[in-house]
Amino acid sequence: MLLISCPWCGQRDESEFTCGGEAHIQRPPDPDALSDPEWADYLFMRTNPKGRHRERWCHTHGCGRWFNVERHTLTHDIISVYRMGEGPADDGDGDPS
């Protein structure tokens, strides 16, 4: 059971959150300009790393905000938490919130 630090509300139990998968996948500004495989890369292809993973979570049953989490997919340690539009914290293992 993860304990996730919402950048707004602080530490809350995983059950209040929804995981939205890999973060920082931008919707292409001009989809028509893309080939089918390029569009598929946006739509379906994922990094799915074993290690540090930047992902989106939503505090669904709290403040309702989406935010980013950098989490290790093997240890489940949360390395950093940062708001939408922000970049991840420096390579420390501290929790910026």
Partner: protein
């Protein structure tokens, strides 16, 4: 009342003033308050408690705790019957009734024991090598095997007991209330922060409870003092009868408190039977102690063979003698203390066979001083006796580990064994902590932790009470506990297994007593190539019993290492996983069962529907009226009547459950343009528009009508089932992709009660209930909305229609929903107003060829497939647009929506029926589509059906074949708009 022939006259924690009557396998016996079932059985001289899993061998009581592999019982009968409980953990209560498991007809004479006679035929993994004939024959053999397997029985009938689940937060969780745990809790508690101390026993004290002579180290007084200090601290919560059983990520631990198990079926009904604690701890101190290991010698499984420390516990804590004449076999000092305690209480210690050639030190000296017969370099190599051990065969063990000298049979009724102690590292390992093998101690110890956790006491290798207390204090104060102290005496680690005196004995050296895994099985697995410790476990079932290998795993690893000729640490351990001790399903589910299994959501008009006799349909968590049968009506009758009422007069339907979302802000139009496939710029305030949402993959996600309330304010509706999903999805786009758009979304689903009023008489009914809304077509045209009052309540009225008739949806604040419904019913009486349910709604819209999300769509259907190109913007982008242009989406043979007209107008095709281009010729058939919606249409006096068919309406007028059960129907592909295709009625 029967006597308790093996009960000591004094001592122990039992209360001799409170005798308790109980039965075991139908025999009436007596024990005392404070007894476990095991101690009470021993006090009565009962040793044969159960039968083993595979060979059905007689088994007794090996341990005094959670690690018990043998003494499993079925407690009580009927709906409170509980299988596979460890007699060593069952607290005695008056009237307790227990029976042995896995034996027929009884524990003394068990037919299953025939297997034991042919045990050589059925070594580990034998079932992989036979039962293969004939092909598919396993299902037959399996029935026999299944009957033989399986231990106890499932209860009969629903569980009458209640279970609780609760959450707790603390700064320090201390697991185990032995000396280390008590000291840790006290040290932590003095800081004033929140502490939880959990222990599985009814009384704190741990192993100290089993010791009478503490030789000057902390003892009963120290426990008492510490406990009273802990109880005086308001920040400390002491949980007894509570087993911490799972250690998960981010210091989340699960514990089970047995609240009333010790009271039996007469426990107060308002109390939960068990409580599951979900604990989030900033820091954890594990003071989980150590478990004594058995020794692996021939026939080490007979009733009367017991771990030395267990025997000591029975004598000291329960005043129950496990025998009168004992032989001791050990490879370490701890068994000497047990031997001395038994000796002091009148048990004759025939011999102490010590695997160490030259036992020395205080333990051996004390035993020698007491006149006990110590045989250095000796071991018990076999036992005899059928249902109870009658003698132990003792022989010398040479330096090379082989038998030496003559084998002597020593008469006895008890064999005590000690193979050393294994730290209970289970929870530490579950937490992700690494183990290391300590050569000096010969054990796996906690090494690097992955979470904020510390180990203290015997689990950390500490020896002796004083050392445990010191480590506990350190850990409790947040300091790193001192390193493990040196062992009192080095152990002989090389006698796994102890040599047998003959061939047959070689096959009877048990490692896992519950699953009947022998040293020979392990050797066989190694010989066959199952050499990884995980393969060994799976091939032999070592450690997979209800005791989870707490006693057998380490000896098993040692035997494996011996067979491989590898050092023990190279073999490693299997992964420790939750739970440490089995957890009751009911406790895991908590109160999420029965009426609270999942929320039931009801609309404000629910009571009316119930009163009207509605049959309900589950749509997500909502209960929606499905149809309203009159007396004697079938579903088809009722639905037909409801539909005709809407077509010919007027009907009303509860539409409250549809999702409603207020979209407001300067960016609202831009937002809708991106979310919906059609354009929203030109929608005037006061008007409504139908919209279709796609996923980014181009597939239809949801649909609904959105009304423009003000320039920058819209009210969007969604389908019932998708309401929360759509809101979440919209929020995700807004927050993550388009933060620049000035839009706020607010759910208004629960704020309003909504009634759909549909049918040619709808206007007449509505006009009678409103004075401030002009309901004429000119003033209030199709696809517009007005606000005002209906039946005196502030209302928004939307002129929209899903039935194809003149229709209004009237929304009022939820509190007025029931009154509005009642007012409409009264007002419509003269017009024949009829409540209709979701099924009639489905029929009405299908007659019109309208799509229903979830029925015509299944996540693989595009708007083009549905013939809805008209709703797709040509130029501007929207979610899902690019996906519609992918090559596979342009395939002319994609399945597209059509109508189906059955040749036999009376025939209503089953929904889900598959469509073939030609008459069936035998499987596999070529299927070109399926029926998505199909109903009897009362107004058309024939069946109507919608279908998704390859090629779609290009096939119009062709005949397709629909295989039904036992016959094939023919139908013609047609326009899906069966009724009023031009829409004259809904605009009227």
């Amino acid at each position: 009342m029967t006597a308790q022939p093996y009960r000591l006259a004094e001592g122990g924690v039992i209360d001799r003033t409170r005798p308790l009557s109980f039965s075991f396998n139908g025999r009436r016996l007596t024990g005392f308050a404070g007894d476990t079932l095991a101690s009470a059985l021993l006090a009565n001289g009962v040793h044969l408690v159960g039968r083993s899993f595979k060979y059905h061998r007689p088994r007794g009581i090996l341990t005094a705790g959670t690690e018990e592999p043998n003494a499993l019982v079925q407690l009580e009968t009927g709906n409170r019957s509980t299988p596979n409980l460890k007699a060593t953990r069952v607290e005695l209560y008056d009237g307790l009734a227990a029976t042995s498991v896995n034996c027929w007809p009884g524990v003394r004479f068990d037919a299953g024991a025939l297997i034991d006679a042919v045990h050589r035929m059925v070594p580990a993994g034998f079932y992989y090598k036979t039962f293969m004939w004939p092909r598919g024959g396993w299902h037959f053999y399996e029935k026999l095997i299944r009957r033989m397997a399986g231990m106890g029985r499932a209860p009969e009938g629903p569980d009458p007991d209640r279970y609780d689940r609760t959450n707790a937060h603390c700064e320090v969780l201390v697991v185990g209330a032995g000396p280390a745990g008590l000291a840790a809790a006290r040290a932590a508690g003095r800081s004033g922060t929140r502490i939880i101390l959990a222990d599985e026993q009814p009384r704190p004290g741990g192993m100290l409870l089993n010791v009478t002579d503490t030789k000057g180290e902390p003892g009963a007084d120290w426990i008492g003092d510490t406990l009273s200090e802990l109880r005086s601290m308001p920040n400390v919560r002491v949980l007894t009868r509570t087993t911490v059983t799972g250690y998960f990520d981010h210091n989340f631990l699960v514990a089970v408190e047995r609240v009333t198990d010790h009271l039996g079926p007469d426990a107060p009904a308002h109390l939960p039977r068990q409580r599951l604690w979900r604990i989030r701890a900033a820091r954890v101190v594990l003071a989980t102690g150590a478990l004594e290991r058995p020794l692996v010698f021939a026939n080490n499984d007979r009733p009367g063979v017991m771990l030395a420390a267990a025997a000591r516990a029975y004598v000291n804590a329960f005043a129950a003698l496990p025998g009168r004449r004992a032989v001791v076999c050990t490879n370490n000092d701890s068994a000497y203390e047990a031997a001395l305690d038994l000796h002091r209480n009148g048990v004759e210690i025939t011999a102490i066979a010590d695997l160490r050639t030259d036992p020395a030190g205080p333990a051996a000296e004390a035993a020698a001083a007491a006149g006990l017969n110590i045989l250095g370099g000796h071991a018990v190599v076999d036992t005899s006796g059928r249902r109870r051990v009658r003698s132990a065969q003792v022989a010398g063990i040479g330096a090379d580990g082989s038998l030496e000298g003559p084998v002597r049979a020593l008469h006895c009724d008890l064999v005590l064994m000690s193979g050393g102690w294994s730290p209970a590292v289970h929870l530490f390992s579950q937490s992700g902590g690494r183990l290391r093998y300590d050569d000096a101690l010969g054990v796996f110890l906690p090494d690097r932790a992955r979470q904020p956790v510390q180990c203290a006491g015997a689990v950390n290798g500490a020896d002796g009470t004083a050392a445990c207390v010191l480590q506990g204090q350190d850990a409790g104060s947040g300091n790193r506990p001192a390193a493990a102290s040196a062992p009192a005496a080095p152990e002989a680690g090389s006698h796994w297994p102890i040599p047998a005196r003959n061939r047959s004995g070689e096959f009877r050296r048990f490692v896992d007593l519950q699953n009947d895994v022998t040293a020979a099985d392990i050797a066989l697995a190694v010989a066959e190539g199952y050499q990884s410790v995980e393969h060994l476990k799976r091939y032999t079932t070592l450690g997979m019993g209800t005791d989870q290998g707490k006693t057998g795993n380490v000896p098993g690893i040692a035997v494996l290492a011996g067979s491989l000729g590898a050092p023990l640490p190279a073999v490693g351990t299997t992964t420790f996983r939750p739970p440490y001790d089995p957890v009751t399903f009911g406790a895991i589910a908590g109160r999420d069962v029965g009426p609270l299994a999942d929320p039931v959501r009801e609309t404000p008009m629910h009571a009316w529907h119930v009163e009207a006799g509605a049959v309900f349909e589950d749509v997500g968590q909502w209960k929606r009226p499905f149809y309203y049968p009159l007396a004697g009506e079938t579903k088809r009758d009722a639905v037909a009547r409801e539909c005709l009422a809407v077509r010919n007069a007027v009907g009303l339907m509860d539409a409250t459950t549809l999702g409603k979302i207020v979209v407001s802000g300067r960016g609202a139009v831009a937002f809708l343009n991106r979310i919906y496939t059609n354009a929203w710029d030109d929608l005037e305030v006061g008007r409504c528009r139908y919209g279709l949402m796609l996923g980014e993959d181009g597939m239809v996600l949801d649909d609904g009508v959105t009304a423009r309330l003000a320039t920058n304010r819209f009210l969007m509706t969604t389908t019932t089932g998708n309401a929360s999903r759509v809101l979440a999805w919209l929020e995700e786009w807004l927050q993550t992709e388009w933060p620049d758009l000035d839009v706020y979304l607010t759910s208004a689903t629960e704020q309003f009660a909504t009634v759909a009023l549909a049918g040619p008489k709808a206007r007449a009914v509505l006009s009678g209930l409103t004075s401030d809304i002009d309901v004429t077509t000119e003033a209030f045209p199709f696809m517009s909305w007005r606000s005002g009052h209906v039946a005196g309540f502030p209302a928004r009225v939307f002129r929209i229609s899903y039935s194809g008739e003149l229709a209004y949806e009237i929304s009022v604040p939820a509190a007025h929903g029931l009154s509005l419904w009642a007012a409409l019913s009264r007002q419509g009486e003269d017009h024949g107003i009829t409540p209709f349910g979701t099924e009639a709604m489905h029929v009405l819209r299908a007659e019109k060829g309208y799509l229903m999300v979830g029925q015509e769509t299944d996540g693989t259907v595009t708007p083009i497939d549905l013939g809805m190109q008209w709703i797709l913007k040509k130029k501007k982008d929207y979610i899902g647009r690019r996906s519609l242009a992918r090559s596979a989406m342009l395939d002319p043979l994609r399945k597209r929506l059509v109508g189906l007209r059955t040749e036999d107008p009376e025939l209503v095709l089953p929904e889900g029926a598959q469509i073939l281009p030609t008459a069936p010729s035998g499987p596999p058939e070529t299927m070109i589509g399926h029926v998505t919606s199909s109903y009897w249409s009362g107004v058309l006096r024939r069946s109507v059906a919608l279908a998704l068919v390859k090629g779609g309406r290009d096939r119009e007028t062709t005949t397709v074949h629909v295989p039904l059960d036992g016959r094939t129907a023919r139908a013609e592909i047609c326009d899906p708009r069966f009724y009023d295709p031009d829409g004259a009625r809904l605009r009227g």
